[in-house]
């Protein structure tokens, strides 16, 4: 069912040498929290009296993770790093070479989807590891687990979205800005219809807090959400048409 050949192709399409400039940009993006953390550490002694203590570091680390990494950088890495990998095949008309193979549509989607996960997942892990290392935060495990789950959820959403809509990047940023950015803050019901609500709850639980919804509910919702997105993608690929562009 799963095609390793398609998986390898996807990874190569996303991280091959021909994409060096995009990759460089994504690496800088992933490292942004670490860079900011470094700057804060560098300037903090000049701005405040006394040293930048453990408590301040922990607060900074969490703020950077929640408000920058989880809210903007992870979705951006997913969106720019791999979510369009199947849509690009359709636009380039190379999809013929994948579609006309004895591979089930579920296999095709899973192989492409997992391939699309590799670059953002790698970059997310790298970004979280760097920023927590710079700030000396020992809660790296909780941040990494949350980051991985968030990457998976956003990947599933944007991957499915790319199969239904042109200009996926525009729609996805619209969702991030309007739904998760604006409505999330002013409407509690709306926040429950966002990925961010459940990833933040999961992080809260992993850090020993008392999240709402609970860790189990958050994980279950995110799991069902990913499965639904993959199922929707499979249905879309199964029923999709590839018309002749020239005739």
């Amino acid at each position: 069912m799963f095609s390793r050949a398609i998986f390898r192709l996807s990874v190569r399409q996303l991280v091959g040498r021909h994409r060096w400039f995009a990759l460089f940009f994504l690496i800088v993006l992933a490292a942004l929290p670490a860079l900011i953390a470094g700057l804060i550490l560098g300037f903090a002694p000049l701005l405040e009296e006394g040293s930048f203590g453990e408590s301040a570091r922990a607060t900074t680390s969490r703020t950077l993770f929640e408000n920058l990494m989880l809210t903007w950088i992870v979705p951006a890495l997913v969106l720019l790093g791999g979510a369009n990998v199947l849509r690009d095949e359709m636009q380039n008309q190379t999809i013929d070479y994948l579609y006309l193979k004895p591979i089930s549509r579920l296999g095709l989607v899973l192989s492409k989807f997992t391939g699309a996960l590799v670059p953002p997942l790698g970059l997310t892990v790298m970004g979280i590891a760097f920023s927590t290392a710079v700030l000396g935060d020992g809660r790296v495990g909780a941040f990494l687990a949350t980051g991985v789950v968030a990457t998976l959820a956003y990947s599933a959403l944007f991957f499915a979205l790319s199969l239904f809509l042109h200009r996926t990047v525009m729609w996805a940023f619209g969702y991030l800005l309007i739904w998760e950015g604006f409505l999330f803050g002013i409407s509690r019901p709306a926040s429950y219809l966002s990925i961010k609500r459940y990833t933040l709850s999961l992080q809260e639980a992993l850090l020993g807090g008392f999240p709402e919804p609970s860790r189990e509910v958050s994980l279950a919702v995110l799991f069902v959400f990913v499965v639904l997105c993959v199922a929707l993608s499979v249905w879309r690929v199964r029923t999709m048409e590839f018309p002749a562009s020239t005739e």
């Binding site: 050949a5 399409q13 070479y97 579609y99 006309l100 193979k101 591979i103 590839f242 002749a244």
Partner: protein
């Protein structure tokens, strides 16, 4: 002939635009040419056969089943698309190995090398596809369709962009596939190429199947139009007079030692000609059917 491909009452429309209209045919082993001018609906038909499009109406069966519902059947199908889009960042060898691996072949490397050899791209196997010439790109596209040795091949304009030497090579490969018992459907709007590869043709124009079968038989069947035959030799003027008298020809053009005659019934003409030539004391040195090439068939049918 056992049909490997069956297309029954197939139509495809996009809103009010009809791309293919009520097309039916069955194809067995051998090379069949799909002919038609640009925009005739050839690629749409190919895509419906390959399962890339669903017919708005009608059914397409490959080896008795629908490809779209049975992806495993793609093991038996090779498709060479018209579009020139490839993975330019890969080498030719990598591209073929990828295709062989997607077909789950036991030795993708060996299959890739064999396909490269077949299209004579072994020397260029490590070169990036992005640096390939147009003709080489056509050959690598054909190679990916052949890499798993399929029973059925759909080749959409495989000669497009190839230089004359490469065309000869590609035509030879396609002809040999037909001789080896593969079902090959090859499309082109260049008639002489199809004529050199296939005897059976499907002629499509404006989405409709205009004619199908042996192109010479189609030509024969067009009784409402006369054939032109060139006769060269000695005493041809007498021959012209006798042919007209016996009503074997409907028109004659004479120039020096050549006659161009208009023939309504080729069978009667060719069977009566030797006797008439003897009677006229004519010596025929050359006899050429001017309208028996595919170009003429095509011109007549789409007019």
């Amino acid at each position: 002939m056992s049909a490997t491909l069956s297309v029954q009452h197939v139509s495809k429309w996009y809103g009010e635009i009809v791309a293919v209209s009520d097309v039916s045919f069955e194809i067995g082993p051998g090379v069949t040419g799909l002919l038609g001018p640009n925009g005739a609906g050839k690629t749409t038909l190919f895509k419906m056969i390959a399962g890339l499009l669903t017919p708005s109406q009608g059914t397409v069966h490959v080896l008795g089943r629908s490809l779209r519902e049975n992806p495993r059947l793609y093991r038996k199908l090779g498709f060479c698309p018209e579009a020139d889009n490839l993975y330019d960042f890969m080498s030719g060898f990598e591209f073929l190995e990828l295709n062989a691996a997607m077909h789950a072949l036991s030795d993708p490397k060996a299959a890739a090398l064999s396909a490269l050899e077949r299209v004579q791209l072994t020397k260029e196997k490590d070169k990036k596809i992005g640096a390939y010439s147009r003709g080489m790109r056509q050959r690598i596209k054909l190679a990916q369709a052949l890499v798993h040795d399929p029973e059925i091949l759909l080749l959409d304009e495989p000669l497009k962009g190839a230089d004359p030497i490469q065309r000869v090579l590609l035509m030879e490969i396609i002809r040999s596939l037909g001789e080896a018992g593969r079902t090959v459907v090859v499309s082109s709007h260049v008639l002489y190429e199809v004529e050199r590869m296939a005897r059976e043709i499907l002629l499509i124009n404006r989405g409709r199947l205009v004619a199908s079968g042996d192109f010479r038989a189609i030509r024969e069947a067009m009784y409402d139009r006369s054939h032109r035959v060139l006769l060269a030799g000695r005493e041809v003027k007498k021959l012209a007079a006798l042919l007209t008298e016996r009503a074997l020809v409907t028109g004659v053009t004479i120039s020096d030692n050549e006659l161009i005659v208009e023939v309504q019934s080729p069978t009667a003409f060719y069977s009566g000609l030797p006797r008439v030539a003897v009677e006229a004391g004519a010596c025929i040195e050359r006899l050429v059917g001017l309208d028996e090439d595919l170009e003429s068939v095509f011109r007549y049918l789409v007019r």
